[in-house]
Assembly symmetry: C2
């Protein structure tokens, strides 16, 4: 039986201290170590590895290890962590997650999760209303809510595509794929979950037809229409289109109404990947970016990205929840007994998984505390910080160059060595540079980022765009201030100059 | 910025109180409410549902809601919760989970999760050594560990079967399933993840050939060999066999060496579903139940079941980790940049998911605190409590009847009304009862369980076995004492008698 001086109480104290006094400003975002250095650091306490026969460690060793974990882990809550499409967890979500872990149950049945089952229903209904799947007015909590929670965006995408295939042919669940060559469409800036899912579903990655996007990263609707017609001409069977609301790299939004038109014309399942950008729906100012999402058949929305829920919190909304059970049910008679109390509320036979963590609780708690207004403010702050960063780049006198103009929360740009200023890189013009300049520019982001990690001053992303390594700053942490943006840009300049002087 | 009087600090305090003073003995296992009653209970505070425009709630309302969550949720930590194949979370695991949530990152890259990447490697290596995949001696932490963590047993099974299909034909990832009719085998007592996975993979549930098991629930190896030959005779292509180590209902173990022999003879992928029973490997006394697991190609092991990790903690071990990347890689260039630091340690492109919760931390912490010995003790205590329960049933003078003798942690039995005692129900003899007796016995468990839930005295499972609803008590919580067993059996007798008197 645990007591307040127990090891668990002490670890909890450490976690709470970190939560209540998060790092910021000039605190390190990371204390960088190599794998070998990390192994050495833990050797002084509990050791990272396990012996052939592993003995229980002393409390002192375990607590020293916990301190090492805190020291050597990336502080994703730090406002200068702009590295990925999650950052700055809402502390209310964190403690909601803690409460769920303490109560440790599975969301699969009402019997084991009465409160969480109803919270899921409440949240999925509310999300469906926000997305325009249902009328906006509040409604009673349905036993069959309009969707499900999944353990991440890739899993939710997989489930959505299985539903799409199921609608085309409900027999495929039982008989497997026939000889039809099913194909689906997504823009070439869309997320790789599409190809991974196609491989898993037995369609193969070749079944994913990548449609050209414009320089911003939004699908070209005419190219989509042409691709569908061409696939039919090749004797293939189009069955689904994925529209992207917030691409991973440039946070671009496909014109969802234009995509919906193509889906209607060709009777295709319309899935919207709003993993990243779905949260724009919370903001009256920005929700127009998703106009047309209400016409989709399924919509995946990761609340653990822009909304700061802890990993993971993925909602998959579906237009027709009556098909969840026929598509996924396993009919386990040890779990979904029809003769038990409130069996009609069981969600477990309406999804792929059996036991599921109660991801709903943290979102429910966070939403109750923040309200719609708080959720909107989080999105709008992210947008405003991105806009500020864009203005700093434009006014940098050529030190920074826009690579993709962008219009949402991702800012994609390059640092330009003084001897190359000014340099036009926007909208694919980088492709016209000579090879030597390209090589110089391409090598800079990894080097600059490595220095930033080594000093712990910040973490930002980079990736090739049209062949050129390009910085990407992602905004979603409400703690980010203009000072943080200024500090990151100054750090890039400093490390860039240092790289050149070597 | 949170402070100690903040709502998050207060919710954390509630979670910690629950953790440090868990319910036991005559405390309620559940305060049963219907969905309507729950909605009414929350109406006095934050409300379960969300308004069309949801305002932020007061701290007072939110805290009252949190108290309601604690009041109305099932206390799975209570030693009289014997309802499912998880129970009694290790408090060290709970706070490990908390620490991971506070640090909120993704396990996909070393860059974002340096410590957790190495912990995964350490744990997968140790688990592989425990399972006999690798020599028992401690080894350096590999950049490419022998497996991965998955968000649950069903997902891990899906990934394993995708690997099995990939070995048969690496092109299928790209080209999709051809015209070959791939089939796999699992016992009819095996988990429904097999059929769900087959549906997802595009093979169809018909591709799962259910092999007869004996009365205990273990596969009949001759029936398996015959089924493989018969499938080939029908022109089908066997590609995988799932051996079960600990069935869901009776905790039966397939003879894994016998299954391995069939796999070797027919060149089939041998997957072991040790989701539930894999933890027997931790006990020198019981690990013989998994003899032969070291011959498998893949092995899934849910540490959130018998070992008390919080939901979820699923390890998928693989014999040949070099095939993980070719099978699953998506090559996202914004994430798995080859030119960044320590890129060879990135695990994200070796699995299906992108972002992953750091499930390794809680297991690492728990193992460091408990040691191998503590893990063994947990398994052995569960076994001992099950054995005690079996002895109580045998010595009950006919009040309880064995339905499946069983030999591990699940005890499967019926309560017998006084006028029917003694009644032989073991090993399928229930099938010889007259219909009226069958109907009477079949109706008892749901009624008795509902009364148990209504009074909160305990929670145990039931399911039909050979057509007869049968109680199932599952042991894994180290807090369970013989008093708890006695109390549950007494409660069953009491509710049974009350049912008859109505």
């Amino acid at each position: 039986m645990p007591d307040p001086s127990s090891i668990e109480a002490k670890v909890a104290e450490r976690a709470l201290e970190y939560l209540l006094a998060p790092p910021s400003g000039d605190d390190a975002v990371i204390n960088l170590s190599s794998p070998d250095e990390l192994v050495a650091a833990f050797d002084g306490n509990a050791g990272l590895g396990f012996d052939a026969v592993a003995s229980g460690e002393t409390d002192e060793h375990v607590l020293a290890a916990v301190d090492q974990v805190l020291h050597s882990s990336v502080r994703t809550v730090h406002p200068r962590f702009m590295n990925q499409n999650f950052a700055g967890p809402d502390p209310v979500s964190v403690v909601g997650d803690w409460l769920g872990a303490a109560l440790n149950t599975t969301a699969a049945t009402f019997e084991a999760a009465p409160v969480f089952t109803l919270m899921e229903s409440a949240l999925l209904s509310k999300l469906a209303r926000v997305a325009g799947y249902l009328p906006a007015a509040a409604s009673p909590l349905p036993a069959l809510p309009p969707g499900l929670f999944a353990p991440g965006g890739s899993s939710a995408t997989l489930y959505a595509l299985q539903l799409a295939r199921h609608r085309r042919n409900p027999e495929v669940v039982r008989t497997g794929i026939g000889t039809e060559r099913l194909v689906l469409f997504v823009s070439d800036a869309g997320h790789y979950a599409a190809t991974k899912s196609a491989a898993m579903l037995g369609l193969g990655t070749d079944a994913v037809i990548k449609v050209a996007s414009d320089f911003e990263g939004a699908i070209m609707p005419e190219a989509l229409a042409d691709a569908v017609v061409a696939a039919k001409g090749r004797g293939e069977t189009p069955f689904a289109v994925i529209g992207t609301a917030g691409t991973t790299v440039t946070s671009a939004f496909d014109d969802l109404n234009a995509v919906a038109d193509v889906c209607v014309e060709h009777d295709l399942w319309f899935h919207v990947d709003g993993c990243y950008g779905g949260s724009a729906l919370f903001s009256p100012k920005h929700r127009h970016l998703l106009d047309g999402v209400e016409r989709s058949d399924s919509f995946v929305w990761n609340l653990h990205k822009m909304m700061g829920m802890t990993q993971q919190c993925s909602a998959l909304l579906v237009r027709d929840p009556s098909q969840l059970a026929p598509c996924f049910a396993g009919h386990a008679d040890y779990l979904f007994q029809p003769d038990k109390l409130n069996a009609d509320y069981d969600s477990g036979d309406r999804t792929f998984q059996c036991a599921r963590r109660v991801d709903a609780l943290k979102l429910w708690l966070s939403w109750k505390v923040r309200g719609d207004e708080g959720f909107a403010a989080r999105v709008e702050h992210a947008y405003d910080m991105a806009a500020y960063t864009r203005s700093r780049i434009t006014e940098s006198g050529g030190a920074f160059a826009v690579v993709v103009p962008g219009s949402f929360t991702n800012v994609v740009f390059a640092w330009v060595p003084p001897d190359l200023r000014p340099l036009e890189l926007a909208n694919g013009t980088a492709a016209q540079l000579d090879q030597e300049t390209m090589d110089r520019l391409h090598a800079l982001p990894p080097t600059i980022k490595a220095q930033m990690q080594a000093e712990g001053t910040g973490m930002i992303g980079y990736q090739p765009i049209h062949g050129l390594n390009t910085f990407r700053m992602l905004f979603m942490n409400p703690a980010v201030s203009t000072d943080d943006v200024d500090a990151i840009l100054a750090a890039i300049e400093r490390y860039g100059a240092a790289t050149l002087s070597h």
